[in-house]
């Protein structure tokens, strides 16, 4: 929760003219997260993440300058927020002594966050170098988006 609030605040402070709007979206996301955690409403978490993403998109639209180098950090942070929130909400089952289940899970989350931050950075670096790449990369992006939507549809059916 603090992490999300920190992210929202950072974006607001970094914003120029419409900073209060960016801040307001972030504030709603934080409040929703508070409600979700307090009431254990798992169904609220997608809205929290979507709002946080929307806040960042709004920040990008308002900012209208060069590529934001902090995007991978923000993305990795959002993943960390999401993983911790899901962990906090799910039903706790006490582990057998000496299993180290929480430690293993925590380690995996940290590893995933670091790896995803790295991949995000790589994507951003590639986007800077492949601005002239044009149509092929655009087509690849469309295919990836379509693939993700198809996966979502398949999951919805199962």
């Amino acid at each position: 929760m603090l992490l999300l609030a920190l992210g929202a605040l950072t974006l607001m402070l970094r914003g120029d003219s419409l900073a209060p709007l960016v801040g307001a979206i972030g504030l709603v996301a934080v409040l929703l997260l508070v409600v979700a955690l307090a009431a254990r409403f798992e169904w609220l978490l997608p809205w929290v993440l979507a709002l946080a993403g929307a806040q960042y998109a709004a920040f990008l639209v308002i900012r209208e300058t060069a590529i934001d180098p902090y995007a991978p950090i923000y993305g990795a942070g959002l993943l960390l927020v999401s993983e911790l929130a899901y962990w906090a909400i799910e039903r706790r089952v006490p582990g057998m002594p000496g299993e180290g289940l929480s430690f293993r899970r925590g380690t995996l989350i940290v590893a995933a966050v670091i790896a995803s931050g790295g991949i995000g950075g790589l994507i951003l670096a590639m986007s800077e170098t492949s601005v002239r790449g044009g149509l092929w990369l655009e087509a690849l992006g469309v295919a990836a988006a379509v693939g993700a939507v198809a996966l979502l549809a398949r999951l919805a059916r199962s």
Partner: protein
């Protein structure tokens, strides 16, 4: 195991798609970097997910126990596919409790077999079925959940803890079969009854030489026969008073089990009438088989709500043989049971009532009118008890302060000094 995608997988896939589409539409590559972590976790989760198929066995130490006994349940889980986290939930039916071991419990199964040991205690008598086990496995990224349910249906009978009984109530009349009770009738036995003159056919060993020498003619000893008795335990299961883990019915069942066991040890024929919402009876018989039959029948005893008026006419005639001693175990809470007992007495049965007092199970209340109502209720119970006593039926109150032995002694004293008229 049944594979179910978690909500997280849907959310991550959706966010990834949204980020990519937004990136294409708005032309911001940063949104791809924003969505990439979610796509990475969803993709890695999908790629690494493998459906586990654990084999589970559950063993119960034994299938019979006495209230308060502890039993070991051994649970074995074997898997070839490593499981990051397996949640095990062994359901313990109400009346049993888990003394040692956790349920639910989470564990990691890298492969091979794992053994878990549980200790369960039989808190209350009854027939139970154990072995309802739910398994939930999680993969590393928690994008899928794997469910499996087993019902091993291991039967467990928890028999009531017997109450201490030292001396049994003796019936007024004995039956015709050999037993441990000294009958009023004369016959073959060892207890001296009377003297009479010798007649042809009398055994020489019966001659009382001292009396014969005094009288100058042969006199023989007459002896009391040793006979058995028919005992019917009348269990009132119309209603009960309950407090947390104990009720009047629990106590009645424990007392019934103890009485039945002792009477059967004395070669008496014992029968059972469970008179309540559901009528249940067992014809009088003797031996160990009858003990198991009655105790097994007691395990199924429960209070079933029923508004139908019942009297003793619904009880089959053979269940209540003539000259039988009827011992009623009742909280005297239901008019139908109270009326049926008076009916039994009116029909000449040798009846004794052990009242399992419901008073310790009832809170008198804090308000004055509540306490007044409580006092009136107690007075009405006293009046009912007096009604029975006037009819020649001893009523002994059995509660927390009085052990069953003392209650039975109270009945015995009543019968000694105020012997009821015969039918």
């Amino acid at each position: 195991m049944r594979r179910v995608p978690t909500a997280k997988l849907g959310v991550y896939a959706g966010l990834s798609a949204l980020g990519l589409v937004a990136s294409l539409v708005l032309g911001y590559p940063e949104l791809v970097a924003l969505a990439a972590p979610f796509a990475l976790v969803a993709g890695a989760g999908l790629a690494l997910a493998e459906t586990p198929d654990p084999e589970v066995t559950v063993e119960l130490e034994r299938d019979r126990a006495i209230e308060g006994d502890e039993l070991t349940v051994v649970l074995r889980v074997a898997t070839n596919v490593p499981i990051e986290q397996l949640d095990l939930r062994l359901s313990v039916p109400e009346g049993l409790s888990l003394v040692d071991g956790k349920s639910p419990v989470a564990l990691r199964l890298p492969g091979g077999e794992r053994e878990l040991e549980y200790r369960i205690a039989g808190d209350r008598w009854g027939s139970y079925v154990l072995g309802d086990l739910r398994l939930v496995a999680h993969d590393r990224f928690r994008v899928f959940r794997y469910d499996q349910r087993h019902d091993f249906r291991l039967p467990l009978k928890v028999y009531p803890r017997p109450e201490l009984v030292k001396e049994l109530l003796k019936p007024l009349e004995t039956q015709v079969f050999t037993g441990n009770l000294v009958a009023r009738e004369k016959g073959e036995g060892i207890e001296f009854a009377d003297l009479r003159q010798f007649v042809a056919g009398d055994r020489v060993r019966r001659i009382n030489w001292r009396a014969s020498a005094r009288r100058g003619e042969l006199w023989v000893n007459e002896l009391h026969a040793e006979r058995n008795a028919d005992v019917i335990v009348f269990l009132d299961s119309f209603t009960e008073a309950r407090r947390e883990n104990e009720s009047t019915l629990d106590r009645a069942v424990r007392a019934t089990a103890a009485l039945v066991e002792h009477y059967l040890e004395h070669k008496d024929r014992v029968g059972l009438v469970s008179f309540g919402g559901v009528l249940n009876w067992l014809l009088p018989a003797t031996g160990m088989t009858q003990l198991y039959r009655i105790v097994d029948s007691l395990l199924d005893t429960e209070v079933v709500l029923n508004y139908a008026w019942k009297d003793i006419d619904v009880i089959p005639r053979r269940t209540l043989p003539p000259k039988a001693l009827v011992i009623a175990l009742t909280p005297l809470l239901d008019e139908r049971a109270a009326g049926a007992l008076l009916d039994l007495r009116a029909r000449g049965f040798d009846l004794a009532i052990v009242e399992i007092s419901p008073i310790p199970f009832v809170e008198p209340g804090k308000m004055e009118h509540e306490r007044l109502a409580f006092d009136i209720w107690k007075l009405r119970r006293d009046a009912l008890r007096g009604h029975y006593e006037r009819a020649g039926v001893p009523v002994a109150v059995w509660n927390d302060e009085v052990p069953l032995v003392a209650a039975l002694e109270e009945v015995r004293a009543f019968r000694r000094y105020a012997r009821p008229a015969h039918a």
